[in-house]
Symmetry: C2
Subunit: 225 residues, 2 copies
């Protein structure tokens, strides 16, 4: 059971988030990776609205987000960088073979810079456009970019189980990006991507990580009158 | 002079792009890094509109983009992954010290996933919104996200020369992201970011890389009647 208050590794997360963000906060990526390699970690929970803007947290995470990863001598932010760091500890996340390793990192960066910005842009048009009369037009204008990237990803995955020869941090982040892309029909248009997401999210390590994130939110749910 | 037709490293670039993209194509990041460590490379130029969609290129780069990096036994895409690979060859891009190295990768991922998606979203509202009556409202709706990230970055940089103790791939990509953020006032609001971009783009390696990208476009400029 990786969550252990005595563990030398610390992961910062929120103690509660609104329903829209439940299960999607980025500490999931780090929790999932730690579960895959059975490495214990303790949680440091940021409490209350605005807690993430404290000077202490900004010193650790300049963008005021989570997760922050700490171990002896190292404070690290950006889940992608944390996953490379964890991958260097354990081949189950990132193979030692230099070329395979480079390709796995390539897929992780693809998830972060070639796929997520476009699925996120579509989400953002819904978010910032809420209640505006241009919301649907703006979504229609950016949707083709997200659709194109997913079609290209679907073509690259084909009938393979994972993007390279075995599960890596490239799959971990790509699957996390795809499951967050909740625009109806976007991922569903590609049956192999649907199966790929299921393959990732039914891994015991994913389920344990999700349970850990949700357990924190349940413990800290605000009491409403 | 790193561009050498006989070099064992190959970098794929476009043979020509429209004026809006000149100097901004992502092979700049890889050319710049190769110049920093004086590692020769040969260019493979994709010719003509749509050349990037050939089956051969899609096999190398599933998103139909540039750059692709090739060396014996390795075909790699995503400039961020290529930079980590190059950084492992030479400490002038990525220090060997594990904690410094992890932090440098953290800044590179921050550039790719915490800054660029928001500056790019603002650019995209101008691009897809061109001629639409909602263009300015959509830009106004997403601008605060880009502004916030740049203010946070400015705070983290402070009066330092580079984001960590010396120039790394984290600075290289961050500076490349900032110089592409051409929305008036966006970067200019932060004098330390302006100086930081100047500090990067006046490095001899940056200038040599830019000259190499521009030389290709000049050689291949379409003849207009």
């Amino acid at each position: 059971m990786p969550v252990d208050p005595e563990a030398p590794i610390e992961v910062t997360a929120y103690n509660w988030v609104p329903p829209l963000a439940v299960g999607l906060v980025k500490d999931m990526r780090v929790r999932w990776a730690l579960e895959e390699i059975e490495l214990p970690y303790r949680e440091r929970l940021l409490g209350g609205a605005g807690g993430e803007k404290s000077a202490g947290h900004i010193a650790d995470q300049p963008f005021g987000q989570v997760p922050v990863y700490k171990e002896a001598g190292l404070t690290l932010f950006e889940s992608g960088a944390i996953l490379i760091h964890l991958g260097e500890k354990d081949e189950r996340l990132l193979p030692h073979d230099p070329n395979f390793r480079a390709r796995a990192i390539g897929w992780m960066i693809a998830a972060l810079n070639s796929v997520e910005p476009f699925t996120q842009m579509l989400f953002m048009m819904g978010f910032v456009g809420a209640g505006r009369d241009w919301q649907e037009e703006a979504k229609d204008a950016v949707r083709p970019f997200a659709e194109m990237r997913l079609a290209q990803l679907s073509g690259a995955l084909g009938e393979k189980e994972w993007l390279e020869d075995s599960f890596t941090i490239g799959d971990l982040v790509m699957i996390d990006v795809l499951r967050a892309a909740r625009e109806p029909g976007l991922v569903a248009a590609h049956p192999n991507l649907v199966t790929y997401v299921e393959r990732g999210t039914t891994r015991p390590a994913f389920k344990a990580a999700m349970d850990a994130q949700l357990a924190v939110f349940e413990r800290n749910e605000p009491v409403t009158a």
